[in-house]
Symmetry: D2
Amino acid sequence: MRAIQLSAFDLDHLQRVDLPAPRPGPSEVLVRMEAASLNFRDYMLVSGQLYRGVQLPIVPVSDGAGTVVEVGEAVTRFKPGDRVTTFYKSRWIAGAMRPEWEGAEIGAPHPGVMRELASFDQYSLARAPGHLTSLQAATLPIAALTAWQALELAHVTTGQTVLLLGTGGVSLFALQFAKLRGARAIVLSSSDDKLERAKALGADIGINYARHPQWGALVREASGGIGVDAVVETVGAATLAQSLEAVRMHGFVGVLGWLGGMEATLPLASVVLKRVRVEGISVAPLEEHERMVAAIEATGLKPVIDHVYGFAQLREAFEHLAAGRHFGKLAIDFSL
Amino acid sequence: MRAIQLSAFDLDHLQRVDLPAPRPGPSEVLVRMEAASLNFRDYMLVSGQLYRGVQLPIVPVSDGAGTVVEVGEAVTRFKPGDRVTTFYKSRWIAGAMRPEWEGAEIGAPHPGVMRELASFDQYSLARAPGHLTSLQAATLPIAALTAWQALELAHVTTGQTVLLLGTGGVSLFALQFAKLRGARAIVLSSSDDKLERAKALGADIGINYARHPQWGALVREASGGIGVDAVVETVGAATLAQSLEAVRMHGFVGVLGWLGGMEATLPLASVVLKRVRVEGISVAPLEEHERMVAAIEATGLKPVIDHVYGFAQLREAFEHLAAGRHFGKLAIDFSL
Amino acid sequence: MRAIQLSAFDLDHLQRVDLPAPRPGPSEVLVRMEAASLNFRDYMLVSGQLYRGVQLPIVPVSDGAGTVVEVGEAVTRFKPGDRVTTFYKSRWIAGAMRPEWEGAEIGAPHPGVMRELASFDQYSLARAPGHLTSLQAATLPIAALTAWQALELAHVTTGQTVLLLGTGGVSLFALQFAKLRGARAIVLSSSDDKLERAKALGADIGINYARHPQWGALVREASGGIGVDAVVETVGAATLAQSLEAVRMHGFVGVLGWLGGMEATLPLASVVLKRVRVEGISVAPLEEHERMVAAIEATGLKPVIDHVYGFAQLREAFEHLAAGRHFGKLAIDFSL
Amino acid sequence: MRAIQLSAFDLDHLQRVDLPAPRPGPSEVLVRMEAASLNFRDYMLVSGQLYRGVQLPIVPVSDGAGTVVEVGEAVTRFKPGDRVTTFYKSRWIAGAMRPEWEGAEIGAPHPGVMRELASFDQYSLARAPGHLTSLQAATLPIAALTAWQALELAHVTTGQTVLLLGTGGVSLFALQFAKLRGARAIVLSSSDDKLERAKALGADIGINYARHPQWGALVREASGGIGVDAVVETVGAATLAQSLEAVRMHGFVGVLGWLGGMEATLPLASVVLKRVRVEGISVAPLEEHERMVAAIEATGLKPVIDHVYGFAQLREAFEHLAAGRHFGKLAIDFSL
């Protein structure tokens, strides 16, 4: 079967190969993969910025979707014909992540989704929302779940205000989920065009941070002088101080990444006197993923896909991702 | 000034009187009352079913809205011209209700809103949503807050399913709030006509309980065989067993009243094995009321008013309430 | 190997048999069983009051402890020589119980612990506290975990007051856990002797409910007139109304069983006006079990064992349990 | 009456003065002050490091205790003879702190406790634990409440492990509260002598951070290789990175101050991948204070007082505090 492998840490070493078709073990599910989507984690893998200890060659990319072909004898969760997505943090079903479950992530160290057939443990898969194509469903696992978890941990409810930094996949899912809860959303971007597109998706206020580098006070003013209830902090080093300026007393700052560098400066007096909760978020357990799928189905949410690439265009897709100019998700259609 | 007083426990003893205009104390706010709405509690007072120890005569009715006329020197929360509603559980600002705060409820034992001018402590009032008339705002204090609190305590989120018993004021507010959160709503009624009206408000499923007295199993089936996430239990004695049948494992049953009698039968094995949370709810603190007002403003929610009566028609309004056939709230317009 | 089987629903049909020794599957752990303890669930099984659909003959009894003999190739949680207890609700690792995990309970429908060797999935076992003998550890799985979960769900903290109904296994574990949290404990019993023994274990107040059938008001008086923060409701039908009398506003009533009948009367006005939380509890996920084991180890807690029986005395042990006069747990030592 | 006033920002300008005795307003309580205790906030005030906008002269010091002499007509919470402490964050009764309640703090901008008689709003006072002297009770308001709140927000339960930085007032209260919950405590200090004294108070492990500047890994090792459940972060800038190293996955870091500078470096990947919650804490509402008093009474906790000064020795007490070598609280006995 057709697959793409990374043989060395560099975009130049993504190679199309032919691999033997896998067979499902007793608790496993064999899936015909139909689509994938990219996350920054995938780029860090292929460009050698993380996971350097991983065994090469490896099939890359964590998030994908497809249709169940065959199930092992102990499988209770799926049957042939079911449409599924991967579930990135395999084994993390609920509660706290356990050290014994580390190291089973799809797309490194376990093989990723860039192959026609793949066998997964039945708890490494989740049902795809019924109204979405596989291409759409493939965008969910990491980005949508991270956004969902941020709003859940922040207890965002109707009438609250959420601040979103940028218009990447996580931020736009957070925007859509916030609006579905009846919350207000403020979006930052350096592009007026993207701010307009965010408003078309429901954003109440757009702020161009390039024109307003001290946007913290501006956001606070735009939220009744009190500050926003929650910040979905997808950037980190360059933005955390302004995010703390923007958030209200007892507010929430969900830290989801470190796009802007590994270390941020934390203004202590602001954290203490405003009693802010700064919480690290890295996906969520299957239990939350399933609640998110129910939410997506009940509301008919459709993911925002910036561009669709074919199976053979993985490298171009990564270059697009690295450029950082996308609005929503970059997806890969295996039929193209 | 014009007022209505209850001189003995009976609808026949609601009398129109002329009272001296009050003056605000240092922490008080003088309000020109413009509208009121009825809750079952008001009917229990005037019909002598509760609060018999209250000092008569008393100005009845707990919920009202109006405009601030004058404020005492220590008042920081309001200024003349502000539009306000009463806040029923005066003094309960946040956290747990404290025994020392009991006994200050507007509409018994403290005087109610059926008067042209009324002086209230500044923490017995809340800002009215900006887009609502006083008539609309007057429907909020007890009914909307109780519904809001039920959904908050149940942590209802997008994609979950909520069961509502009937189409009274609390149930319809809960329906509207549930839809604003992106939740699904199942509504019970004995009237197909009311079920149609509930669907027009957003209800996903309507069940006629008169035709389906064993509706618990039906509701469970209608929620994917799993059961609903939360029940807003406005009835009690006649319905609790079916509500426990309808709710999912780890689900929530918010008990808000005892319309159907003082005692319910609790099926213990069902509570234990399904790990259900049954929680009593009686309004909520001011902190929740203010979050609810923010939610109403952010979403533009409009209360459902079944019928509007004039100031002099209080008795007719009570008779309508007692008949139990209303769809939403019964309101009183002081200008009529 | 030696085992005991139930061949028909009756204490008379507990038979000593010789079974072939099991072998562990890839994810399984082979355990040499050294002790067991009884729960009321076991008695309901053998006396045919529940689980009548279970396939007979069956090895009975859910809770046991022993030493790991051998592990399957995929086992990561245990190694030979580890001392373990069973974990009753096999597969429930964290979060909400899932329907797909039902039906794997040890001691019906899955085989129980009354056998010299038993193979369990690695997530059906938990590490035994290091300072406890297997006999002591065998008392933990159902009773201690249920008590632990009740205090966790109630958020019992230092300085609060907990009410315990009786002196069975669950109640005494709840007493010990409450004292370890710095809480006060009020214990009810019909025996002054047992009340004295409860006080020796740390109970602050003992009340003889036989002499004070209206103990609700007495308990409230004994807790500063405010009521207790939490009730561990192990009885149900006969006691719930008094428990609701005894609990404070916003208090917690954890319903753990239905010893006194399947239906209780719920006084609705009390639930609503006191805003009480009544929550069903049936053991807890592995995550909580492991937190409990850490707590038992950190504090050196020793379970209270009323009487120890030999492997061949299972019937006598059940008769003791059925008589309901034990103080703490009834345990079975496989070496006797 | 005798009082001490700060006439300019400097320890040299603490002056003993004679002020007219206050009279209680309708909602106020007149208290004969008998003792005080110092917090770092007091030192920041008198040394001019904070609150420079405050109106001088001012009676300094936030925390005190005494006996009620007289109450205003609207006072319901106290009566003459009651023993009370101040409650620093006047008006914050429960829930979230509200901007409208800012600016009423005792000891700046409102007058502090260094005077023989003081009038306070009834919600600016709390009942003193019955078994404590006024000297002991005076140590509670800020330091004990902050420590209590940290453990409550962290949900510290029996068997968990808490890390305490240093042996100041907040750290030692946190140590005592942690032990009362049945938790384990690891204490850091640069003095072996203080570590011994901490162990005498119940600390399980002491680590000399002067000898082990990379103590994060050491703490993690000392907590089973997993990391501590909660860190009470009283230092900040110099320690936060090590605290994040020491804490477990999903752990809690309560940030209580900024003794070591206004800005800390936050290692983002660690926060995200360990899903750590970093939360600012600045005292707590009255509701928590009252729960803490109940806990102190139920357990007989006695505060650790390093040194007692007389009323006229306030300057010496401040110099002691500034030197930072105390073990527990510095208290002032008004009878000396």
